[in-house]
Assembly symmetry: D2
Homo-oligomer: 225 residues x 4
Amino acid sequence: MKFLSRTFLLAILGVTAMSMMKQKKTRIVFFGDSITQAGVGKTGFITKMQEMLQQKGTAAQYELMGAGIGGNKVYDLYLRMDDDVLAKNPDVVVIWVGVNDVWHKASSGTGTDADKFEKFYTAIIKKFQAKNIQLVLCTPSTIGEKTDYSNQQDGDLNNYSNIIRKLAKANNCKLIDLRTDFRDYNLKNNTENRESGILTTDRVHLNEKGNTFVAERMMEGLGLK
Amino acid sequence: MKFLSRTFLLAILGVTAMSMMKQKKTRIVFFGDSITQAGVGKTGFITKMQEMLQQKGTAAQYELMGAGIGGNKVYDLYLRMDDDVLAKNPDVVVIWVGVNDVWHKASSGTGTDADKFEKFYTAIIKKFQAKNIQLVLCTPSTIGEKTDYSNQQDGDLNNYSNIIRKLAKANNCKLIDLRTDFRDYNLKNNTENRESGILTTDRVHLNEKGNTFVAERMMEGLGLK
Amino acid sequence: MKFLSRTFLLAILGVTAMSMMKQKKTRIVFFGDSITQAGVGKTGFITKMQEMLQQKGTAAQYELMGAGIGGNKVYDLYLRMDDDVLAKNPDVVVIWVGVNDVWHKASSGTGTDADKFEKFYTAIIKKFQAKNIQLVLCTPSTIGEKTDYSNQQDGDLNNYSNIIRKLAKANNCKLIDLRTDFRDYNLKNNTENRESGILTTDRVHLNEKGNTFVAERMMEGLGLK
Amino acid sequence: MKFLSRTFLLAILGVTAMSMMKQKKTRIVFFGDSITQAGVGKTGFITKMQEMLQQKGTAAQYELMGAGIGGNKVYDLYLRMDDDVLAKNPDVVVIWVGVNDVWHKASSGTGTDADKFEKFYTAIIKKFQAKNIQLVLCTPSTIGEKTDYSNQQDGDLNNYSNIIRKLAKANNCKLIDLRTDFRDYNLKNNTENRESGILTTDRVHLNEKGNTFVAERMMEGLGLK
């Protein structure tokens, strides 16, 4: 709870209070790429959050919904936000995007320019905020878990994370800084400077430990802990 | 005039007639990338069209405006269409985009996926048509003028041109098929299979001959000839 | 047999004659990428060539050996030609490379510049010819089977094929022009302009029909038919 | 002098001593890309080293020669090492390459795979060492001077620098670790996290200060200080 800004907490509490009066659960939609898509799987981080809520006895107050599609970049989110998120009338939206915007530069030549990444991300924020939706932005965690900044996309991921941090601040959104969280975890636990196998299976997608780690970060970041 | 569809011609005439009653010129905005940006230069194709209209004595009926920005891809047009085109209240918009969507794959790793190209292009068409703006779509002319289909981006440019042809048909837009026009011209005039110097200075941007060639195609395609 | 140059035929016959005197089979090594690697599989084109030789009753005169490794570009061949080809003392080497040199530009940003492709290819030719090895060069067949030149890499594959044709001529090597052969076959048989499924499973690698087709072209090109 | 390994120092001294007996200067060839090519310019780092030698009064003992060509990657060095370096009969060769191997991935899709980078680099080392040439390897300095590891190619440059450090150790070559040197300098002097203008003009090529800085590092690394 300690990482939650007071404003954000009050906002969440307000939404929650309002929801309770209306007998309505706080609906949280996770909007992202393949990592989020896998989040609703049997051992995915969204499923784990649901289990954590049940253990805490607060499951009745929240409704968690996945809206992740593999390969998505920021403008894919932009193009489908009406159909896949707004149509669900969410109270809170967690946006987790950026890995493909960077990765596709090398893997298909169709990554996203940094300035366009910022423009489309801003357009998404503006549209959600116009509907009074609470936003939580996440930085892209990792493409490769080596800790000496020698993963091919480290520089670019750091750059796009800087953009997201700036946008969170400028637009009063909550930030869950998964890139920093993953790095801190790896600095302690990945002493052999391995590329994968710590929190990911394949440098990008979460293994069991990674799903638990993200679930915990999300619980904390969303003030659900 | 012979290439003009009857419907399109009537639409243009209708707009023109209406304009004349209102003492208003038909406003045509050229929306595109660096090629269009250069079109308003001293020897650019838009400037040449203006001169052609004066020679025909019809310059008073039309207002030609450039809205090209170097490096633009389809989603750049999407992001700035309100400010740069709709704000000008055009009667007709000529869209000429695609070279950078393909080229940036190799030159910066940030080209546009073919399916996203189609989605953003469609979104632009829908928004303009909702304002009753007449649309003229152009295929990307060339990145390299060799005629044996051995320019690096030929395959991709052909693919994106197919998408534009399909969109023109599906949305009842006029098509100016510059890719085919350039190829036909080069098959006759580029007998040494040179990369540039026929209609372009540098494989992409128009030389004097290229600007005249495009001006003529546009005059014909727009029914101004 | 009609496509065989007289000189090449005499050379092969000479080698064959010499081999027979020595009771030695003519050893033909196929040097290439994953397509060649798969060629020695149960239904691969090299296996099929072996079967064709048996049907003709000439199997005793030839020894066919595969030296293909998935993902190889021209400089991979250069780096391993001593160990993987020269060490086998071949009489004839069939070089089939180029798909990855082009493809890796988009798929990992590590394709081969056209001028370096030519330099390394030339270095391979020179080294083999210094050992009196007969060379047969093949153009890269296809990345996508669409016949309207709208496969993304068509322009580049045509360019690299032009380089190989030029090198074959300049160095008196036999050419098996698989790119032209595949295109001719598809123009007749791929009437729906499909991306794959005619001679390939996945736009690149050979299906059953493709292996038979390549085996026949190779038999003819090598004068074994 | 303190960074010089004893072995390397003795080797250089040996070469120098031998040279003096033969009345022959120690010939040092700088082998690299556009940064090295510019090194022989009026204010280039090689020119500055020459001036430093004159100030120290040791200019008569050394002959510094540039062998840099813009755009070169490791296999370009490999292809021209006979003509451009061995033909000069050098006593010492300073190899400084890597920026284009990484950069061309994004700028033209023709960067060098990490494993091929190591293979060609090793082949160069082996060939030079077979001629008893002393080798000094440099890590690639920078593509962008930001100090928070948010330059696009930082991860990849760190990876290729690790390879060069490993090769220097494995082959008993002297290492001048310019990547580390540049970073240390920027951490102190680039407090605004700027992309360029500290040691480079354009994120890559050296400005006046950068040329002096590299000249000093080279003097020290070569034991000429």
